[in-house]
C-alpha cells in the first residue's frame, strides 16, 4: 500500500467505468456525451499511464496485489498487477494510441444512431480495459483474463454490424481460432502450476532454472500456441484478414496496434522461459519468418485496401516473432511500438479514404485521390515509407534491429527477412500508388462527394504520422551512436541479456545498405508500375493463387470444418438416434412385446385363474417339502 503505484488500478478502472456508463446509458446519452465519456476515460488512463511511466523510469517498479482470485488448496493465484518497464511501455502504447483511435471514431462512426454509437464506444472501452488487464497482470492467469477479454471484444466488434451474416461468421471464426490458441495457453498454465506451483511472473522466472529443459520447452511451446492464435501466425492466422469486417477504427486499434501484439508481449514477458529452450526459440523464429513471407506474398495481390493492410499486419507480426526467436527481445518490442504507430496510421488513413469514398474498399475503384485528400495522402505516404523501412523513419530502426539479430543467428534468416521486407515495400507502394495516383475510377457520384475528413479524424492521423517519423529515434543502433538505444536501456531490467553483437560495424553497415537498397528499388518499381497503369483485371496463374490466399481457407474448410460437421451429423443422427437411443428404446420395445404376449394369459376366465392358483399351490408344496414331509404326514394320519 505504501507504494504510489498501488493506484495503478486506476488505469483499467477508467475504461471499465466508461464501458459501464456507455453500455448502460446507451439509450439515454447523446452522441456527444458518449464520445466525451468514451474518449475521456481512455485519456484519463493515458494520463495515469504517463505518470506510471515516469515513476517506472525513475526506478520504481511494483507488484500490486489486490485480492485473492483463486485460493485453492494446491495453489494461490492473486489478482495482482505488475508495474515494470515492459508493462508501463505497453500501457503507454495502448492508452495513447487507444485515445487517438477513440477520438477518430467519434467522427468515423458518426452515421450510426446513438444507441449503436454508444454500443461501439462501450465495446471499445471494454477492449481497452481487457487489454490493460492483459499487460498489467502480475501472473499468467490475470494475463489470461485479459487475453480472453480482448478476444471477446474483438468478436463483438468484428460482428458490430450484426445484420450482416458474413461479418458474423468472421467474428465467430476469430473467436474460435483464438480459442484454439487459448487452449495451448491454458495447458501451459496448468503445466506451470504442476511443475512450479505458481503462475506469478516473479516466482516463475526465479524458479525457472529448476525446470528441466523438456518442461521449459513444453511450456514455451504451449505459450507460443496461444500466441499463434492471438497474434495470427501460421497456422492460425486466417481469422485476421476476415476480421477486417469490423469498423476501420477497430481494425486499427485491435487488429493492428494492440491486441494482435499480445502474443509478442507474452513471449517477451516470458523471455526467461524461452531462453531456457533452444527448440522453442527456433520454432518461434521459423514460424515467424514463414508467416512474414507467406502473408507478404498474399498481400501483393489483394485489392481490398483493408485486406492488404491486414496481410501486412500478419507479415509484420511474423517479423516480431522472428525477433523474439533470435533473442532480440528489445527489437521485437521496439517493432511492436513502431508498428503500432505506422500501422494504426495506415489503417486510419485507409479509414479516411473509405469514409471519403462512401464505404468503397476496392482500390481498383479509387485512384487520383492525392489532390482530393491532401492530409490523408501525405500521412499515408509517411506511413508507407515507415513500414517499408526507409531511414530515418521509425520502421527502419526496429526492422533493422531484428534483421541484424537474425543475421547474427543465421544469415539465411536475414536473407529471407530482407526478401520479405522488399515485398512489404512493393505491396505498400502498390497500394499507395493505385489509391492516390492516376485517374479517379469511382462512380460519378462518389467523385462529387469525395472530401477530406473532419479534423477529429485528421488530427490523429497527423499525430501518428509524426510518431511514425520520429518514433525510431528512441532505439538508435550502437553502430550510429554509442549508448543511444534508450529503449534497450529502459527494458534491460526485465529482459534477459541478449547475445552481444559480435558483428563488425562494417558488416552491419553493409547489411543495412543492402536491405534499404532492395526496399528502395521495390518502392520505385511499384510506383512506376502502378501509378499510371494499375492492375484492374483478374489475376491469372500464380497471381490467381495469391489473390485467393493460397486457398488456405478452402483447405481448412475441407480438412477441419467439413469433417467436423460431418462427424457431428453422423453422431447426431446415427450413433445417438440409432445406437444409444435404439438400445434404450429397444429395451422398452422388448418389454412392450413381452407384456403383450403375457397379457394373453389374462383370459378373464375366473375358473382358469383358480385352477392356476391351486395347481401352483400344489406344485409349490411339492417343491417346498420335497424331502418327503408330506408323505410322512399322510402316513402318520393313515396309521
Amino acid at each position: 500500500m505504501n507504494n504510489v503505484l498501488h493506484f495503478a488500478w486506476l488505469v483499467p478502472f477508467f475504461p471499465l467505468l466508461g464501458f459501464l456508463v456507455n453500455g448502460l446509458g446507451r439509450n439515454k446519452l447523446s452522441k456527444s456525451a458518449v464520445g466525451v465519456v468514451g474518449c475521456g476515460a481512455v485519456l484519463l488512463s493515458f494520463l495515469v499511464s504517463v505518470w506510471i511511466f515516469l515513476q517506472v523510469k525513475g526506478g520504481n517498479t511494483y507488484v500490486a496485489e489486490y485480492f485473492p482470485f483463486i485460493n485453492s488448496a494446491d495453489f494461490k493465484i492473486p489478482f495482482a498487477f505488475q508495474i515494470d518497464q515492459l508493462s508501463s511501455l505497453f500501457l503507454l502504447i495502448i492508452t495513447g494510441i487507444g485515445f487517438l483511435i477513440h477520438l477518430y471514431s467519434t467522427a468515423y462512426m458518426h452515421e450510426e444512431n446513438s444507441a449503436h454509437f454508444a454500443r461501439f464506444f462501450a465495446y471499445l472501452n471494454l477492449f481497452v480495459f481487457s487489454m490493460l488487464l492483459l499487460v498489467m497482470g502480475a501472473n499468467y492467469v490475470v494475463m489470461f483474463i485479459g487475453w480472453e477479454g480482448v478476444g471477446l471484444c474483438s468478436y463483438l466488434l468484428i460482428g458490430y454490424w450484426f445484420g450482416n451474416d458474413a461479418y458474423n461468421y468472421a467474428a465467430k471464426k476469430a473467436f474460435v481460432m483464438n480459442r484454439i490458441g487459448d487452449l495451448g495457453f491454458l495447458l501451459a498454465i496448468f503445466w506451470m502450476l504442476a511443475k512450479l506451483g505458481t503462475v506469478s511472473y516473479g516466482a516463475v522466472f526465479s524458479q525457472a532454472a529448476e525446470l528441466t529443459t523438456a518442461d521449459a520447452t513444453i511450456i514455451a511451446i504451449l505459450l507460443f500456441v496461444g500466441a499463434m492464435g492471438k497474434s495470427a501466425q501460421i497456422p492460425l492466422y486466417t481469422w485476421l484478414p476476415d476480421a477486417m469486417a469490423g469498423p476501420t477504427p477497430v481494425s486499427a486499434l485491435i487488429h493492428a496496434a494492440t491486441m494482435v501484439t499480445a502474443g509478442i508481449y507474452m513471449i517477451a514477458r516470458s523471455n526467461v522461459l524461452y531462453s531456457l529452450s533452444e527448440v522453442a526459440q527456433h520454432l518461434v523464429a521459423i514460424v515467424g519468418l514463414a508467416t512474414a513471407l507467406f502473408a507478404a506474398t498474399i498481400a501483393i495481390k489483394q485489392n481490398d485496401i483493408k485486406k492488404v493492410l491486414a496481410y501486412s499486419t500478419v507479415s509484420q507480426l511474423g517479423y516480431m516473432f522472428l525477433g523474439l526467436g533470435v533473442g532480440a527481445y528489445t527489437g521485437a518490442v521496439f517493432h511492436v511500438m513502431t508498428h503500432a504507430f505506422f500501422k494504426a496510421l495506415l489503417f486510419l488513413g485507409a479509414g479516411s479514404v473509405i469514409h471519403a469514398m462512401h464505404h468503397e474498399q476496392d482500390i481498383r475503384k479509387m485512384g487520383g485521390l492525392k489532390k482530393k485528400l491532401p492530409i490523408t495522402h501525405l500521412t499515408f505516404l509517411l506511413g508507407c515509407i515507415a513500414i517499408a523501412g526507409m531511414p530515418p523513419f521509425s520502421g527502419f530502426f526496429s526492422k533493422d534491429e531484428i534483421l541484424a539479430a537474425a543475421y547474427a543467428h543465421n544469415p539465411i534468416y536475414w536473407g529471407l527477412g530482407v526478401a520479405g521486407a522488399a515485398m512489404t515495400a512493393f505491396y505498400m507502394f502498390r497500394l499507395y500508388a493505385t489509391t492516390f495516383f492516376g485517374e479517379f475510377r469511382g462512380t460519378h457520384e462518389q467523385e462529387h462527394h469525395v472530401h477530406e475528413s473532419p479534423s477529429a479524424m485528421t488530427i490523429p492521423l497527423m499525430v501518428l504520422a509524426l510518431l511514425s517519423v520520429v518514433g525510431g529515434f528512441i532505439g538508435i543502433p550502437e553502430v550510429f551512436a554509442k549508448d543511444a538505444h534508450a529503449l534497450h536501456h529502459f527494458l534491460s531490467p526485465v529482459l534477459v541479456t541478449e547475445q552481444a553483437h559480435t558483428m563488425e560495424h562494417s558488416t552491419e553497415y553493409m547489411l543495412m545498405g543492402i536491405s534499404v537498397a532492395i526496399a528502395a528499388i521495390a518502392i520505385l518499381y511499384a510506383i512506376n508500375k502502378f501509378s499510371k497503369k494499375p492492375e484492374l483485371g483478374e489475376p491469372a496463374g500464380l497471381g490467381n493463387v495469391l489473390a485467393n490466399k493460397w486457398y488456405v481457407d478452402e483447405l481448412y474448410d475441407a480438412v477441419v470444418v467439413k469433417p467436423l460437421h460431418g462427424l457431428s451429423v453422423v453422431l447426431k443422427n446415427v450413433v445417438e438416434r440409432s445406437g444409444i437411443d435404439g438400445l434404450v428404446n429397444g429395451t422398452g420395445k422388448l418389454v412392450h412385446y413381452g407384456s403383450r404376449q403375457l397379457r394373453l394369459l389374462q383370459s378373464g376366465q375366473v375358473g382358469a385363474y383358480l385352477l392356476a392358483m391351486i395347481l401352483s399351490i400344489v406344485v409349490f408344496m411339492l417343491v417346498w417339502f420335497n424331502d418327503g414331509t408330506i408323505m410322512n404326514l399322510l402316513n402318520k394320519i393313515v396309521k
Binding site: P68, N71, D74, G149, F162, L183, S568
Partner: protein, 476 residues
Amino acid sequence: MIPVLLIAIPLAAGLLSFFLRAGNSSRTLVTLSALASLALALWALSAPQAQLQHHAAWLPSLGSSFDVQMDGMAKMLVLLTAIAFPVVYVSTAKNNYASPNQFFALMSLTQAGLVGVFVAADGLLFYFFWELALIPVYFLCSQWGGERRIAVTFKFFIYTFVGSLLMLVALLYLYFQTPDHSFAIQSFYKLKLSAAQQGWTFWLIFIAFAIKMPVFPFHTWQPDTYEQSPTAVTMILSGVMVKMGIYAVIRWLVPIFPAAVAQYDQIIIIAAVIGMLYASLIAIRQDDIKRLIAYSSIAHIGLMCAAIFTKNQAGMEGVMIQMFNHGVNVLGLWIVADVIEQQLGTRKFSELGGLAKKAPVMAILLVVMALANVSLPLTNAFIGEFLMFNGLFRYNVTIAAVAGISIILAAVYTLNMVQKVLYGASNERTDAATDISANAQWMLVVLVIMIIAFGVYPQPMIELTKDSVQAVLAIK
C-alpha cells in the same frame, strides 16, 4: 432445525396447493414458500452447526432414522435450489398452465424432495427423497409437456426408474453389511468392504447416479426430456436436479467405495471425456435451442464427473463451485429459451434471427449467459472449469488435453446459437418480436450479477465448500 424447515415449507405448500381452486393463489403460495426457503437457506450459511442438523426416530426397527444435516456442500446446493425455484416462478410468471394448482403443487413437492436429497444423512431417507424429487417430475412432464410428452416421459421414467432400483438394491446390500444394521451414512462410511464386494455395488450405484447426471452413454433421456417438458420443469431438471447425481457421487459413492474408485477411475474419466466431446460435437449441428442447451449441459456435466474421479483437491473444489455456477448459468439460458419460445412460438434456429435489433436487452443478457457457457474468464464458470481442468491435468496430461478440445467446441456451438438467434437479418416471424418482459429481465439481471460477482471473487464459495472437499478426500 433449519433443514427440517427447508423440507417442510415447500412440502406443506405443495400439499396445500392441491386443494386450492384458483391458479393464482397457488402460484402465490408456492412463490412465497420458495422465498421463505431462500431466506432460510441464506440464513443457513451463517447459522451455528447445532441448527443445521436434526435427528428424529423414523423407522427404528429398520435401523433408519430421520437424520438430516448440512455441511458446506449441502448449504451451497440447498441455496442453489432455493434460488432456482423463485427464479423459475417469477421468470415464467406469464406462462399459463392447465390446472395450475396441481402444477405448482408438484413443483413445490419437487423442491422438498431436492432439499431432502441434499440434506439426508441416512440411506433410506436419501432414497425416499430421491424418489420424492423424481416422481412429481414424471407427472409434470406427462401432463404439461410438448407433443411427444408421453413417449418421452416413458423413456425418462424407464431410465431413472432402472437407476433407482439399482441404487435400492445396492443400498439394501450395504445395509445388511453394516454390523448394526443401520442406514446411517456414518455406518456406511465405516464399512470395510472387500474389493470384490465394492466392485459390483459400486457399479450399481454409479449407474443410478450416472443416469441422473447424465454421463455418456446414459444421457439420451435428457435432450428429449428437456425438449418436451414445460420450460419451468426443464429449468429445475437441468439447473438443480442434475446436481443431485453429482452430489450423490461425492457424498454416497466416492467415500463408501474407495477401492472401487481407485480401480475404475480411469474408465469413468475416459467415458466422461468421450461424453464431453461427443455431446459438444452433437451440439454443433443442433437446430433446436433447447436441445442445444441440453447437449451443452451434458458436456459440462461430463467434466464435473471426470474431475470428481481425479480425486484432486483443486479439481474437487472446482466441482463444488461449478455445481452452483452451472446451475445459475443454465437457468439463465433456459429463461431466454423460454422467452423466445413463448413469444415467437418456435425454438428452431432456422426460423430465428435478427433478434438483437428487436430485443436488445434480451440480446445482451443472452450474450452474457453464452459467455458464461463458454467459461470466459471473469464469469463464474471460468473458475470452476479452471480448477477442474487443472485437476484433470494432474491426473493425466493427455486426457486433459483431449478434454480441452471441448473448450473450443463450446465456443463453436454457443456462438452458433448466439449468431443464429440474435444476429443476421430478421424474418417475418422475428419482425414481430418485442423485448423481454420485466419479470424475466429482472431474474436474468439477478443471475448476471451472480455470474459476474462469483467470476471476479469466487473465494467465498471455495471457502464454503472447503470442509466437504476435505472430508471426502480424507476418507481413504
